[in-house]
């Protein structure tokens, strides 16, 4: 897999503060991955992200995007190739939704027709019917709708890289969950390299291919959500992520991981208690508990039995990780 973004010995030292905001960070982000920068406020995660589109320049070190040192590019050119989404959205209030989306394509010299098509296509992608929304002004949108437009605007020129700075932090819980789901859905189809900053652990676990845990300007752990929860690097990570939370761990593993191949005997025994191999184990456990069962049948898309999940298997898995936790 290609490395989309590489941080080499990155340090940002705001003069006079004594302590570096970001200290000697080395990081490689793979193409098409959604990497979440997670940590308490002041840990340097936003600073690190803003160095990629040069809103902040590092004091030391260099950043490669697609193999090129970003200082070799014109800063405006670099930024037009990187989608940027911020918490406050920052839509231009005096421009209609379609004009907002068209800002970067316009700067890149696309013709009107192509911009119009692209803007409609993106509104569809983020779940806003173009006929209803393209002529609206930002003041006519709800917070959630504004951030959808913000996302569409960042995607407009089809950038390979997206930077998202706590994009859902200011949005109510229900809308946030929906937007997270849609980001995952959109990411399925577009496969961008995404750097996503958040301080919300649930959000990080839900969205990330990999999580970068930061503290005091340094990377503490860079790993998949599952490994961060099951093998936290230190006490800080354990506390930050709630690594001892068994349910959270189960939510990260699919039925396929502990499924035993099905015996023919049980097939069709109980038609209502079937799950797909992709179902996460938290949901599977929930179903077992609520229905008073001790096993579930796993079936494929065509309803053919492929395996069996037993309560014992889930308990064993949970016990194994919990055992690590409690020493």
């Amino acid at each position: 897999m290609q490395k989309a973004i590489v941080f080499e010995n990155i340090t940002k030292d705001y003069s006079g503060t004594g302590r570096a905001a970001v200290h000697n960070v080395n990081l490689e982000v793979l193409e098409g991955h959604l990497v979440v920068l997670l940590g308490p406020s002041g840990c340097g995660k936003t600073t690190l992200m803003k160095m990629v589109n040069r809103l902040i320049d590092p004091t030391e070190g260099r950043i490669l995007v697609g193999g090129t040192d970003i200082r070799e590019l014109k800063v405006t050119e670099l930024r037009r190739r990187i989608g940027y989404v911020i918490q406050q959205v920052g839509l231009f209030p005096h421009m209609r939704v379609d004009k907002n989306i068209g800002v970067v394509p316009h700067m890149l010299g696309w013709d009107k027709e192509r911009i119009r098509q692209r803007s409609d296509e993106l509104l569809d992608l983020v779940g806003l019917p173009p006929d209803d929304f393209r002529e609206r002004y930002p003041a006519q949108l709800s917070g959630g709708q504004q951030q959808r437009v913000g996302l569409a605007r960042a995607l407009a020129a089809d950038p390979a890289i997206m930077l998202m700075d706590e994009p859902f932090a200011a949005i109510d819980n229900i809308t946030r969950t929906r937007l997270q789901d849609e980001l995952l859905r959109v990411q399925q189809t577009i496969r961008k390299t995404i750097l996503f900053v958040t301080h919300d652990v649930e959000e990080a676990i839900k969205l990330a291919d990999e999580i970068v845990i930061m503290r005091d300007g340094q990377v503490v752990q860079y790993d998949t959500p599952l490994r961060i929860l099951s093998q936290p690097a230190n006490e800080f990570v354990r506390e930050l992520t709630g690594a001892g939370d068994v349910m959270r761990l189960l939510s990260l593993q699919s039925a396929a991981t502990i499924m035993s191949p099905s015996g023919e005997g049980v097939s069709g025994s109980n038609s209502s208690h079937k799950i797909l191999p992709t179902t996460n184990l938290r949901d599977a456990l929930g179903l077992i508990m609520s229905q008073g069962l001790d096993q579930l049948q796993v079936v494929d898309e065509e309803d053919r039995p492929v395996g069996l999940i037993t309560l014992t298997a889930i308990r064993n898995l949970a016990g194994k990780t919990a055992g690590v936790e409690s020493k």
């Binding site: 405006t76 940027y84 231009f92 005096h94 800002v103 700067m107 209803d132 609206r136 003041a139 930077l163």
Partner: protein
Amino acid sequence: MNPFVQFYQFFEQGFIYIFDKWERVSPFFFNHLQISGISLGIALLIAFPLGLLISRVRSLTTPVLGFLGILYTIPSLAFLALLVPVFGLSPTTTIVVLITYAQTMMVRNIALGFNAIDPAILEAARGMGMNRLQVLGRVELPLALPVMLAGIRIATLATISIATIGAWVGADTLGKLFQEDNPRKIAAGIICVVFIALVADQFFRLAERAASAYRQRQPKTATTGAKSKNKEIPLGNV
């Protein structure tokens, strides 16, 4: 005689004078427009960069606005008299004074317009790859425009009014009509000045409304049932 009738007759005579003797009024009328227009144009050319500067360099805001405020407190007649030795009895004296007075209102509102822009919008603009000029032209200027126009409107009204006094120091403005003890001419002068002021005021109000139209539009699907809020733009000065 009934004062209302007197009042009515006073302005009736004024109107009659304007229509009967338009060839006498018109030079003053157009001169008045010209001197006001030139003053406002030059004032804006100075005020815009100055307003932009103090909105960028915040440490300059207080000294610059303070200095302009002091200039504004000089009575106009005294100010004109002060400049006669420098520029002589010519329209220049009046124009310099008008430019100076206009600065106070223009600079303040231009700076106010830029300062009121949400920093997140500017960060988004830069983050999307706009250069400084594009951020200024496509984002900052349109967003600051309504507040800037409010300042320009008030400066315009003050200018139109003060230009009258220029008649005593060599500017052939409508103030010339006030210099004889002739009620018909005085009434005609008042009518013309008020007319110009009203037209200018209305023009800038319409421009302000057009420039801030995006703020007042309500969603097509009016789920909130909110009535359109007709927000008055903060003027921030006299």
